[in-house]
Symmetry: D2
Subunit: 371 residues, 4 copies
């Protein structure tokens, strides 16, 4: 078993696997350490909406980052298919961000102002999606927001990285790491490994390493629960989105209904209360959904930072340690751009200064949080 | 493959398997024909409450039949375990039939009048089950109502019957049957079989054969949906019952929440609307249930007759044909008594006259239905 | 509920749904009656290989029919996606029909003679697929053989048909049908329906109706068992095929391993013996497959006719009855061509005479069967 | 949330939960920290054989410990049912430890010498279990070896402990612990807790803490894979055991087939190779098992110490730390005795000296290992 690497990545979710892929392409010698199975945690719980527009209300800084990541997916589809044989399930169709009231509509104004977004009034919305509730007032139609199958993306990153020479260790807990000479010793349940660089990328569990690395930052889990139903009869072409909830038509004929927001809950299983809330919300958007057959249910933990922006960058004091975590609701969307940014930081290529500042782990907490 | 039998039973649910067991014990040569798998339909969807008291408001005729069946289970537990190695999962504990209003309480009066039933006021109920909603007014405590694992009962009947010489044909559709000389030819997907007697016992699908046998009776499906949750923390010892709904603690630590009543729905899968209704009802009884993790969900079709009493008996005109179907909400409860009654009819033993009259398939429809 | 139709199709598998789709496109008023769920039986058990070349050794008659069906899928992909929103999962990649001996190679000669097929020697095969056993002697590389997701095809046919006006009745058993005046009365568990034409298309269970319709033909079930594994590390791009067995890489990163051939077994569940046989065969082709994690297992019943060709055509004597069944190993491959042929027969369009003769239900049994 | 405890137990498997139960009964204030769900790892993978005789060839020391644990289960059954409502699934029936050769029989001699064990020759074995292979030479019949449902035992310990006042934290990773004044600060993903005593009881992952606590001992995972089948027709009353493999009849009518022994494999999922090996072994014992339907498959990691005896006792130097791990193949069997021994060590009750010596973590490695 290979024991020495250029870069060790802790966490085999979509973020860690994206980084592994982009580094392996540059012929760096990469290892991914995953405590369970590749993509088995928050990644496989995500619906996979690439909502560069629907999730971003900060148009100057966060939106361009998200948008570049969204566009990267268009290239990745073929690239990853070619190398790994796995299809990422990219689906076009666009999103309707619904408004049920004037106040809803007000909140959509910045989104509507984007060149690729249109305002549809109730008639137009219901002509296109006749099963939507008649309570709808209109919708921002975001034609560029697409979705992917998150677990397939993660597996295609992971398998492609392996085909390019990376090592992926599943069921391997990282117990500890410490500097020795110019590199790091990483102690795991599978023995010790050496690596010049370490990237901490294991979602909400990254906090574990913050402490040991002398950092006081925190990640708070925000649990999201989802259900899916078999849609054998209701026509629905667009993802319907309202107030952090959505109904997304999958290419396999199912609808995904998501997602609750339970702050500070580490329990990774859906509760009866969560399911009830999802059904109530879905019904208020698409009344006939109650006739559909239940297919499945699941949950995952979003890693939330104090300002809901990810931590992407280097350790402020300790050489050789990088972070790529805290992606909150947007891990799937931001995976390619995060992988590219970490690659560029490692290869000392140019990276947009405002992104470096915005995502560095030791950025200042605003006196008044935006939430 | 054996091709000639004394008795052919159509339907390998709990009713058909109980009959097979009681006949095989008498050394009759029995075959069971099941289109799918033993116990795979309504049987495995049932919660298994043996509610002789909770389900019966007719104390003169139906209650004694149900009660005799309930008591038969006490013997069967050991008997079936010994022969088949399968445990039927008999669980004591009793049922609380809850009252939330004076009118609820009025409806419980006949039940409370039974010698084995007590009235508990709100304090007493909540002392015993502290998590019940404070809206409860009281409960009829039916200490003798127990429950079983329906699929285990069915499999232990089936396997015991086989150990005693019966033949069980799974994945075998009965296509047609007709009299030839003094016996019946039964055409199935596995070929033709001969049998002196035929018992139609395939639940709501028994209607199929009614037509061919010149009968106009009908069975209407009443779909019931259920969910189960993992109960790792809430204390609950008794089954809570209200208005056809129940929360039942299983010996494996799960709670079963049932069941909806969707008349005339043949779809055997639970819908989102059904699940929503179950959660709402469960919450109104046991508020903390919303914190529990969802485990599973399923549905089944109860076979309902015009007066909600089963059809148990012989064909009014055609020799050699018997019926044992239409058990509605009470298939699990009534399986032993039904098996015994069919056995006694076949062996020409004495059977209570009022039961014969009450359950015969050609009984008269009341001018005003009881419902 | 609509009660009168132009065409009633018995069976909601891929054959029945394809017919429904092609007829609904022609604005015929179509109903599909499915006893369980759409595509739930043999359709969802199939791997979905469109082996026009790999399955056909009769190059004059059967191959052109299969090939036309295979090509139809290329158009259907977009067409069905557009109407139903469901993707049929068409995957290119080609098949390696492996030879382990000279005798294997001899059997491949007709296939190799086709213009779209090449012979690869062992070196070339192992260069392209380095994990194949070193025992391989060579392979016929059939570059045009692709595969689809059978359940997705079936659901996209079914939903598209519905979007075009068809009615699909799930959980609906057809009990009986008889002619009344110029149309048929179809008795089902959901009541009676009238239809001018009836198409019997319910796979191996079609036999049921043969008898009632005065036919002596038979369908014999040939059970096929499959397993799938998670392939997170082994590179494999082509389907490997040998002696009715195959290892097929799915676009989601899994490998499907199929399929056993158990004649006259109606049991729709995989046995331990079947799984053992699949693993042994897979290991003999791809030795490292034993390291992969088991994902799932299932089985289905192929409907086999006396000469392993389907029954597609009209009843020899009874007007208004058609058959589309007996597709044996090739139901997925032949679904589009079958749907088109039934459509053309109904609309009295031209149909190739040799196909009509070859597939008619009352064709003569050869004195010596080809098997 | 309560933050200060008398005893913190790391690990919510059957060992940790047994300890919690026995301590909570003594009114100690106990917390269990489980990184996933109660009993979700090795516990739920175990078959639950209480093989005091079948697993122990050391009759002086290990057997009495195991036997006392086995006997404790007889009391626990009622006790845990009463408190938690959960049934541990204790099943009598006994084990046949099979011999296929003289050498097999030689190895059984110490077992046969026990007063509760008998030697049955081939005839007697096959008379009792007619489906066993005719290759069998005889068997040690261990009538006192019973089995339980491991997950039910674990959940009943956990829930009973909670009913008695214990706190159980699921989905809670312990990140670090250190002494502060006279107690321990335990850092977890749910925040920091204080406890006077800490018990390390998280199976093969306990190694993590050995390092931090200055110990050089190691635990090696020995992966065990299992499958289960539906047994609807084969009579089998006793567990059949040969060479670390077994076929165990469950009370629900299924057979559990286990278990492989894959040393140093951390992967918690069954592979195709493992399943193949299990089927081959099962077939060699019970040939007709290949006809049975596959039900499920799973795997778990046994924590193995250098001499295959558990580590139960106090830290050799550091006050307040205890260990209860390394139970290898016998975690279910030894859970009650381990819980009692830890309780007695904590309460400074008398504990057998030879057990203390045999199980202390700093015992000497023999110059020649027994394996």
């Amino acid at each position: 078993m290979k024991k020495t690497f250029d870069v060790a990545i802790i966490g085999g979710g979509i973020i860690g696997c994206s980084i592994a892929y982009y580094l392996a392409k540059e012929k760096l010698d990469v290892a991914v350490f995953e405590s369970q199975q590749i993509g088995g945690k928050a990644t496989s719980a995500a619906a996979g909406m690439l909502g560069a527009h629907s999730e971003c209300d900060d148009l100057n800084l966060f939106y361009p980052f998200a948008r570049s990541s969204q566009l990267a997916y268009l290239h990745l589809q073929e690239e990853l298919k070619e190398i790994s044989g796995i299809d990422i399930g990219l689906t076009h169709g666009g999103i309707y961000k619904l408004a049920f009231s004037e106040s809803d509509k007000m909140q959509l104004l910045p989104t509507i102002s984007l060149p690729t977004v249109d305002w549809f009034d109730a008639d137009k919305v219901r002509k296109s999606e006749p099963c939507i509730t008649s309570n709808v007032m209109g919708a921002a139609y975001i034609r560029d927001d697409v979705h992917v199958l998150p677990l397939s993306v993660c597996k295609s990153f992971s398998k492609s990285a392996q085909m390019l020479g990376a090592s992926v260790f599943e069921f391997t807990n990282v117990l500890d790491m410490h500097k020795k000479d110019s590199s790091y010793v990483i102690k795991t349940t599978k023995g010790s490994f050496d690596s010049n660089l370490v990237v901490v990328a294991n979602g909400v569990w990254s906090s574990t390493f913050f402490q040991n690395l002398g950092l006081e930052q925190k990640l708070v889990p925000v649990k999201g629960e989802c259900i899916s139903v078999f849609n054998d009869g209701v026509p629905l072409k667009h993802t319907l989105f309202h107030d952090h909830n959505y109904i997304m038509p999958r290419k396999n004929g199912k609808l995904v209904i998501g997602a609750t927001m339970i702050e500070n809950d580490w329990n990774e299983a859906p509760t009866l209360g969560g399911v009830e809330q999802l059904i109530a919300k879905a019904k208020s958007i698409l009344p006939t959904i109650t006739d559909l057959r239940l297919d499945s249910y699941w949950a995952g933990l979003r890693p939330q930072t104090f300002d809901q922006r990810p931590f992407i960058g280097t350790h402020p004091e300790q050489d050789g340690i990088l972070f790529a975590t805290g992606h909150y609701r947007n891990g799937i969307l931001l995976a390619p751009a995060t992988g590219q940014m970490i690659r560029d930081l490692i290869l000392q290529k140019e990276v947009r200064k405002d992104w470096v500042e915005a995502f560095k782990i030791n950025r200042l907490k605003p006196v008044l949080s935006r939430r």
